[in-house]
Amino acid sequence: MASPTDTENLFKTPLFALHEALGAKIVPFAGYAMPVQYKLGVMKEHQWTRENAGLFDVSHMGQAVLEANEGEDAATLLEALTPSALQELKPGRQRYSMLLNDQGGILDDLMVARPLNPLPDTTSDNQLYLVVNAACKAQDFALIEASIAGKGTLTQLADRALLALQGPAAEAALASLVPEVAAMVFMQSRVFDWHGVTLFISRSGYTGEDGFEISVPADKAEDFAKALLADERVAAIGLGARDSLRLEAGLPLYGHDLDPDTNPVEANLTFAIGKRRKIDKDFPGAEKIMSDLFDGPARRRVGLLPEGRAPAREGTKVLSAAGDEIGIICSGGFGPSFGGPVAMAYLKTEFAEEGTDVLLEIRGKQHKAQVAPMPFTPHTYKRASA
């Protein structure tokens, strides 16, 4: 069975020593030595996050600033690779977006923020702050750099760590260090000072809970994490619970639920396609994506609730009630807050209607399941009051 992970050839985040001190079980993930769980274990860490506040190290993700040259516009430059309406993104706001290939396939999903004021150590006031997936970052940054060549620059923020603080107590815990965050709302992005340390903070996350993502200089990351952990409402949470939390929240994971052969319509992420972009049809793969939007895609990402207790994992075949193969589970497992197995699957569109009865083939046996709405546990984002 499991032997201690050999971390010699893996990248380490600025919090690696802290993870070890906290008794984390370390696993390789996207080339990094990351904590999959701490002493609480995945189940209790999951529940702690839903009930209190969980602190996640997500420093393996790629942070960068895209700055436009004189006479150019950063949002317009990035729009060449995404279907998002980024020109409309207001200062101090963040948006979920994705990079697409020429067929409209998803190369990565990412967060794009327009800073309220230019970030420290930048020169252009026309800039965007990006956070991309760890496993995709080299490829993403190469793609963006090639696309903006001569019109802008992309600077990786490799000297910054990234933490996420998620859960109902996240606001109170972070506000005890940075009082200004209490006034922030979902998908707002701000820069604040903590004892002379510059923090880039957004009110967002990957758990379905209210919470924050905090970019902190690498050499101050451990101090900042310890200051948060000193609050009894805050516990360190590993990648295991991060996965079960995002699964219950219905949030897709790149490489599992999204890939280059899947477009945003199939992925049920049409909300990320900007209104202006649909009219102008000027994004990669627009022809295919617009035809899928108009006629419906051949397959679509849906939620599935398996009956009984058996978790249905990624790769599980989905059959119609008549026994025909209609799709495959892309993410699945046990939902600790939901209290049973939950899954996401790509199904042929004619079977993607909520309530449709399907069969799952688990270890040669057929198990009943139903197409179900997502999220499986309600989102508790702090949205601006209407």
């Binding site: 069975m1 499991a2 999959v36 769980q37 274990g41 995945v42 189940m43 209790k44 999951h46 295991g240 079960s244 207790r309 058996a310 978790p311 994992r313 497992g333 046990f334 600790p336 197995p341 270890r363």
Partner: protein
Amino acid sequence: MADKKFTEDHEWIEMDGITGRVGISAYAQEQLGDIVFVELPEVGTTFAKGDEVAVVESVKAASEVYAPVGGEVVAVNAALEGEPGLVNESAEEDGWFFEIKPADAGELDELMDQAAYNDHIAD
């Protein structure tokens, strides 16, 4: 009562007369983490030594449980259906999986005793 015998794959078997109770070791449950589902064999099914008999699912992943000896399954621990966490709480007692009637009691001699198993997991 006879002592527990262990496999390299972390199953244990404890004989009582002509049948033996089978589970996974305390070490194994700790490695697996929170167990959320156990798929048990059907009573009356016959397995060879090393066959996949049961599946244990943690929050993280599914793992197979292999027959420590060949034989017929004569009972299963129905308590695990409603309470799979029993395996975490009491892997080597209340969290047993099934009872098997060995076809060849000689196969038991090929297994490790507690001391040998302790060495095995210390490696």
